[in-house]
Symmetry: none
Subunit: 496 residues, 2 copies
């Protein structure tokens, strides 16, 4: 049994090394690669993905899992060994269903699609992006067809990001959210935020963001922050975490964008070292991962206590722009609800409505209920219904997000689920850390990040998303109640 476990670990470590290597190539492509490197990079990524897939789906891994399963059943359910065998089997059986050639095509189409999207968005030219979208969608449909989901085909795509969750379950949560959020937005008070728009030197924004991030709880020399077009976070080990952000000289959004990615980064950073180079080194689902980016961006980064510490440094950085703006006015402005065109610029209240729109359109695309040519029109119509805004061009509409360019259908719902879950976990945090507000007001973020690391991040993928949620909160149900209550109370508090 020792020998089998050693061999399994060794084989999985090799697969992990290949995947992490592909991660480095992907980060480089989005942060530093010269644009003409795209074609070769697509080949390199395809080769790494193919070899990783071949090695992971090797029949010998199945034999090792068969050998080990009876042995680990006597170990605690959440032991590293039992979890490794259980989670690897689930991943292995999923991976075996997808032909190598299809995986390769998906990877290559994603690399090509990304580049086409960058150009198309810049020119607001949906037609030039259409063939890439069509190719990615078609490949993704073939991918979904490799599985046998309980309800609709879309669930197979969702499962990659939110394992074990069905389309029906998500639709049920969103059916509660959509009308409640529309009502909240409709009734939200108007708040002056003109001072958040002006000229904010990107270099000064960068220095300020790095200053905050250094206090979050990352070990020194284990992370970095770089500018990119579409911010993301990735990691190549729990001690090599890459945060990205973008600096718009007209606003201060980089502060919250950086905190958002840092939330993902703290998750990756907090995963137990014993799980490194194994399939357990990750978050159980994107929803749980997103719950933490939202925690740091919103629950921490828009809270009054946090700014009691950080507002003076911010005002010292941008004295002209924030001249005469008191803390209360600033906190109200960054918490206002105001419908807009862009998901990544959306406030906490309107954000999930952007997601619900994408969830609806993705289902329609996959079920071929909508012609792709008609996507911009459908997008614009639904934006008007859900958020009451008119979309002036596709660059600020259907082309705004990177996801579809890489075949990332089924991903968006996790953002809204993350909002919902973040409040379920936050309720527990509040009870566990009674002095949290005072700590935030003193600029002490370590007690919070330590608690989240010890109680959530360190678990990695040992438990399923629902098991993880139950471990932290006591219940495995996704409950929009705390999120809606939080938003309601917050918006009420904005009235002066």
């Amino acid at each position: 049994m020792e020998a089998a476990l050693r061999e399994l670990r060794q084989r999985l470590a090799e697969v992990s090394d290949l995947s992490r290597s592909a991660g480095v190539l992907g980060w480089d492509q989005r942060v530093t690669m010269p644009v003409r490197g795209t074609e070769a990079r697509a080949e390199q990524l395809a080769t790494l993905a193919r070899i990783a897939h071949e090695r992971f789906t090797d029949a010998q891994i199945g034999r090792l899992l068969d050998t080990l399963t009876p042995h680990v059943e006597s170990l605690p359910y959440d032991s590293d060994e039992a979890s490794l065998v259980r989670v690897t089997r689930r991943d292995w059986e999923k991976a075996r269903r997808v032909p190598v050639e299809l995986r390769e095509q998906l990877t290559r189409a994603a690399a090509r699609g990304h580049n086409a999207w960058v150009e198309a968005r810049a020119r607001s030219d949906f037609a030039s992006f259409l063939p890439y979208l069509r190719e990615n969608l078609e490949l993704r449909r073939r991918y979904a067809e490799c599985f046998e989901p309980d309800d609709v085909l879309y669930t197979a795509l969702l499962d990659d990001f939110e394992p074990g969750m069905t389309t029906t379950e998500v639709a049920d949560v969103f059916a509660v959210l959509a009308p409640a959020l529309r009502d909240l937005v409709a009734g939200a008070p108007t708040v002056d935020a003109t001072f958040l728009h002006g000229h904010f030197d990107p270099g000064a924004q960068r220095a300020f963001a790095e200053r905050i991030l250094a206090t979050l709880g990352f070990e020194e020399g284990s992370w970095r922050l770089d500018p990119t077009a579409h911010p993301f976070c990735t990691s190549f080990s729990n001690r090599d975490v890459r945060l990205t952000t973008r600096y718009n000289e007209r606003d201060l959004e980089s502060v919250w964008s950086s905190l958002h990615e840092a939330g993902h980064g703290l998750y990756a950073h907090g995963i137990a070292g014993a799980l490194e180079r194994s399939p357990l080194a990750g978050a159980p689902s994107l929803g749980l991962n997103e719950s933490q980016s939202r925690t740091w961006e919103n629950l921490v980064g828009r809270s009054r206590p946090f700014w009691e510490h950080w507002y003076e440094p911010l005002r010292a950085t941008f004295p002209d722009q924030l001249d005469g703006v008191e803390l209360d006015a600033f906190v109200r402005a960054i918490n206002r609800a105001e419908p807009g065109l862009i998901r990544v610029d959306a406030d906490e209240t309107t954000y999930s409505l952007h997601v619900i729109l994408r969830f609806e359109l993705e289902q329609a695309m996959l079920a071929q209920e909508i012609a792709l040519e008609d996507l911009p029109e459908a997008w614009n119509a639904r934006m008007s219904e859900l958020l009451g805004v008119d979309v002036p061009d596709d660059g600020r509409g259907v082309l705004q997000d990177v996801h579809w360019s890489g075949g990332g259908f089924g991903y968006f719902p996790t953002y809204a689920l993350g909002n919902v879950i973040s409040l379920q976990i936050w309720s527990v945090v509040r009870a566990a850390l009674p002095d949290l507000d005072a700590q935030l007001a003193a600029g002490e973020l370590r007690p919070l990040s330590d608690w989240l690391r010890d109680n959530l991040y360190a678990l990695g993928r040992k438990l399923t998303p629902k098991e993880t949620l139950a471990r932290v909160t006591g219940s495995d149900a996704i409950d929009p109640g705390p999120y809606l209550a939080y938003l309601g109370a917050k918006l009420d508090g904005l009235r002066t």
Copy 2:
């Protein structure tokens, strides 16, 4: 035959993708990686190297080469197909001779040796480095014994960097160089260069370097320049070239360091697209590759015509530091010969003497003609003879270079061969481009880089180093004459 060729190309493309991916990880490690990422990165690189080696040495590649050899013999010698089969067979047979265990020992010893060297150099403590040097040398001897060189064992090490060249041939070239260079250095005039030392803003240096590099002939969007501790150049395709440099605020060396790496980069950029993802996508030898870094650093970058165009922009960038310094004085200063202790800081004239010293000692070490304990003494004695300088401590003497700590014996000679070859090719360039000086003086570098691309870089590794030299210059002999004549004329020109 078509099927065999296709399979061979596919297998080689995969190996190339793995090596290029490792290249991305290596670049990232040296340019952007947070320091705590080191441990995981070493595992990732080891996995990529192991898989690439396994796949390249696969017996099936040998069978495909056997199948293809008779067919490609009817094709032109320098056709892509015949070259691919011929060069791959040479690489494959070399790679198969080295047992996997020895490769692993070499890798481990190199890692240990590097760490020991960093400490030993900092403390100038040769004794602490000695056991690691001994281990690396012993393993490298066993590596050399895997081959059957024509003359001495050292040739087997040289062959990794300068394929097909013997120790005897190198010694013959250096036997001409050593006394001639000593005479040149001894007779070199003293030139004032105090204005090259002062304060030069790194940001301004960076902007200036990028401005020059943009005119060299790189296609836009196919290269980038980043700062690093020890400058190098790498590429992940001929359209993804990564130059690095360092900015020392006390001097302007970044200009020539950047041009040096750009010379390597232009080589990689000029390799024919048809050779991509194959063993032919590279330079035939380090000497030829170095000849081009030296061409752009020295033959272009220290020439009067080049600075007739670029000196005014430089002076506009650093007006205080270069106040009152006329073009003539500047060109004299950057061409002066001045013996020093450190190879990487050496000027064009003294540089090869540093290399000759290392070549002599390496041979003596490998032939066990010198006790390793006596190495510092031998080093210091020879530095005095060749360069007339006294070595104050081992940190600035025998411990100054990284190469031996990782078993990199046989590499140094290629630096001096590059100097020699650069002038052999330059003579041909001068004849082919009669207006070269006028073009350089007008800031037009494209005619030169186009000529070098079409006549040298595009060939990749299709021909051996000697065949390549013969193709470009008409002779396959390495002739120090043009290099010595160039230096002599240059130093004469320094006298005012």
